[in-house]
Amino acid sequence: MSGAVFAQQLVNGIMLGGIYMLIAVAFTLAIGVLNFLNFSIPGIFMVGAIATWRALENGWPWVGAIAAGLLAAGVASYLVERFTYRWMRGLDHEIPLVSSLGFLILFENLVLIGYGSDQQTFPALMPDFNIRVAGLVIGTGQLISLVLALVLVIAASGLLERTRIGRGIRAVAENADTATILGVEIHRVVPALFILIGLLSGVSGILFAMNYLQVSAFMGHEIGLKGIAAMVIGGMGNIWGAILGGLLIGLIEVLSIAFFGANRADICVYGALLLLLVVRPEGLLGGSAIVREKL
């Protein structure tokens, strides 16, 4: 492989990582704060993109269509909170997972009925949505996703550090019961967090659609699975870990395709995940969160 192609492949990997990041951040917020493996996230990702696509098809301007997509994603995520987490807080961690899967099936089949199994063409924002520098092609959508992911993460950490609701979220992450005793309004903090998760997933879905010019009912599957892998590799509950994990998964995937072929890529990506879980389960940036409980 020549240097130029390798450089392009590195760019491809980092850009793909940019797509994985946001979804990994959404997963990590749900796990880190609520200990909830929220399987509806790939569905919300898809809902955001589909809603934007429908709005554009109906002749809405871009800004309005994106707003519609974000609104749909936020509402979808709020529904998930309302019908899964709120009723099951304090029970075994795998229980809300079941309902969140129920929502994934629900969202996908509603879209399937509405718009079929076909992948739909998403209109291009501009004819060539790419930056060409020194022989390299950089997808603007991916670049925006990458930058936006970083900005959103910095904003999210700021939100968690400085605002009242952020402090509430952190208190809930420490211990939901203690947080309630300390006067955190858990009935407001948790829905707010879900809406945040929904918006992150929605943004991710819309950027995905702008970048790959396609939407479909099952568009969240692959990216959701890779997002989970990215979250774990970075360290569950660690937002910066999700960023790092997203980049790493993107690079591993692209480089393993380039060097070993596509049929080895999944072995490399998920093999790395499995190995990490055996060797260092807390992830690259995760602290040792496994503390013996107190009697």
Binding site: I31, N35, L37, F39, F83, T84, W87, M88, L91, D92, H93, E94, I95, L97, V98, S99, L101, G102, F103, I105, L106, N109, L110, L112, I113, L225, I228, A229, V232, M236, N263, R264, A265, D266, I267, V269, Y270, G271, L273, L274, L277, V278, P281, I290, R292, E293, L295
Partner: protein, 281 residues
Amino acid sequence: MSGYGEAILVMLAINIVVALAGYLPLAAGQLNLGIAGFMAVGGYTSAYLTSAYHLPMGVGMAAGAAAAGLLGLLVAVPVLRTSGIYLALATFALGQVIQAAFLNIEAVGAAAGYPVKPYAGFTVVLSVAFGVLVAVLLLSRTRFALLLTATKNDPLVTELFGVDVRAIRVAAFSLGALIAGIGGALYAHHYSYLEPQNFNIMLSVYIALYVLLGGTQTVAGPIVGAAFFTLLPELLRAGSHWRFVIFAVLIILVMAVRPEGLITGALARRLRFGKRREAAS
């Protein structure tokens, strides 16, 4: 019996077997999201041995079960140092790796799939599934089952009462993997064709759903869950497109009303106790 009814009962039997495979680790509090991978190992092993070496189907199935169980043991020992969500994610990764690996093994057809010759008809599938069910039912009446529940309930206290919690977890996980191997072998020999694509993450997820929806506290739970997931879509067939939507809504509602599953230990105890009281009076 009708042909359709037989087909549905076969599906139900295989689904019950794999639900039991998911139930054993879940009874000890571990979510296995790689059951499809263990099914694939069991199915492919049996298919390969019976096709390439012309071993009898029973031997093939036993070997498939053993291979899946052994793999479960190999994975469980390192991964079960941690617990909960990490195991779920490790099994998820493992399932993906196994699926991807079978896509690369040309000896069993890789992406093209692998035809399976010895045919396990209605009677064979139902008998094997019945055997597995009886074995798990017997197991559920032992001290081992008591320790599974205790491990899930409170691992620390269980350990303080002299139980090697990790050994219990490893045993539950490996036994589950072994049963998944049997399920995979039944699938292979009944449906006569294996494709790596069939053993995907969504299959694992659905199997976990059977158990969680049915309830993880008694053997009846996974059976009810498997029946719910097998029969309900058939009953909703008339609704065609909408059947999966209705199905999803039902999952959400059931979990909202009975978050510990349809069949809980307390319910089972109430039924049993009620019976005893009736008998006494």
